[in-house]
Subunit: 311 residues, 2 copies
Amino acid sequence: MKGLLVALAGGVGGAKLAWGLAQVLPPEKLVIVVNTGDDAVFHGLHVSPDLDTVMYTLAGIVNPEAGWGVADDTTAALGMLGRYGAPTWFRLGDRDLACHIRRTELLGQGWTLSQATRELCLALGVQHSIVPMSDDSVRTTILAEEGELPFQVYFVERRCEPPVREVLYVGAEKARPSPLFEAALNEAGALVFCPSNPYLSIDPILSLDRVRQRIAGLTVPRLAVSPIVGGEALKGPLAKMMLELGEKPSSTNIARHYEGLCDIFIIDDVDREEAEEILALGMPVEAMPIVMRSPEDKMELARRVCALAGY
Amino acid sequence: MKGLLVALAGGVGGAKLAWGLAQVLPPEKLVIVVNTGDDAVFHGLHVSPDLDTVMYTLAGIVNPEAGWGVADDTTAALGMLGRYGAPTWFRLGDRDLACHIRRTELLGQGWTLSQATRELCLALGVQHSIVPMSDDSVRTTILAEEGELPFQVYFVERRCEPPVREVLYVGAEKARPSPLFEAALNEAGALVFCPSNPYLSIDPILSLDRVRQRIAGLTVPRLAVSPIVGGEALKGPLAKMMLELGEKPSSTNIARHYEGLCDIFIIDDVDREEAEEILALGMPVEAMPIVMRSPEDKMELARRVCALAGY
């Protein structure tokens, strides 16, 4: 067993595989690098939805129905914030709010997002490293037919309804990878693209200063798990977005997206017929069940990913 | 009926009389000026305990058992803040937290505390003016035997146990009265010292730049309601503090405290025997029931205060 397995993840789908990997690998062998392009300020508080989804999932306190937020949470504070005239379309639970309050306090005291994330994770007993992609600000912005929309406005307030023309990662080209992401790239024994939305979760990471080139130059195994199964996204607006961007929602088109960055492409058994086309892109294909419904599903997929990565 | 009735108030006791006055006087005739020396920052949020107690009381949502906080509140966020390592001895409920989050957001956007207070009050349907004593920072600090203690540390964390040597109002001499307090002093038709702790609630107001002199120079009726009944404080550490500061807890000593600032001193019927001594200080005394247990008590005391003030 060699170096770190570096997993690139976004929200719910990424968090599921990250949880599986954390059951299979010890803390010193795994780094989960999480998209922060979705970060936003609500009520003056710094909210990092993807970081929190991964953190709550690994801490075992995630809301199992939603896949995000804290289990059994209440919305007493949000109700009052609404009375005070604040917008409440971004549903922040009371338990969840504590995380944003604490993070904002720490950032206000000069902590980096990496340091604050580590503090919060340790407090919840998460031993594995969950690392923001960057301590600098990157803001995923949807260029829709109607104009530019901040990510959470598009994703939550507008429920992904506005047709997407382009996705922008504002600030990404000047944003440096976080120190632990940087270190993980230097010590990587393998790299895994979790089954997250490439446009919304992975591309913000790849858009950071020199990250795409760094990953293109890695000589360790690089694997991607497709977020598309049978032409449908496992969660979220990916299939709809691909259509709007002029691409058929298929694992092949996801593989094309990662061309030059990925050595082994993992698809679901139901998409076996795409294997040949993906292989033609220079990526050997592995087919297996990739829909993660149960803890066993997550662990089994994680085990097979690790085996393919030589772990 | 002439000018504004200006009520100076602190926390729970002041809020009760302020509520009574708000039932008796229309919004355009009453200004409630509230101590902000107790303000503190918890979890990076600006908390104004006295302002909130008065606001929640007038809005009809105060926790009736405690006299402060929001009725039927929960502490889900506080529980998580504790897990994240934040101190939780200052009990902030979820509904209460929304107020501090919103206030902090508005202050961060450049609003003054006066403006933020007005916004919050209007959102809760409070028509009467609740005005912070100052938009500048004043920090009531307890000089205890063991050294200086920030007010909330003394009051809440240490439960008023450390013996008090002196009470300091840090920043008061340079703090200006808030614009609406200033305007109210100019248009005052009467001034009322609510039955609040003089050291902790009223003196911070009197310590503001030129406020003591302004009140000393007022020619309109100035009334005080004693916070001491039968040698005991109606609420809080006042009697204990007076003993520690070398004064017998009595209405007479409270009257002495307001000498030169007050024209009519209102005591409870049980303290009638003190009337002569207080009169000797130059203050005619009115005795009546001043313990406010029911809404009727509060309204009746408010009616009698207004009548004495010529309203």
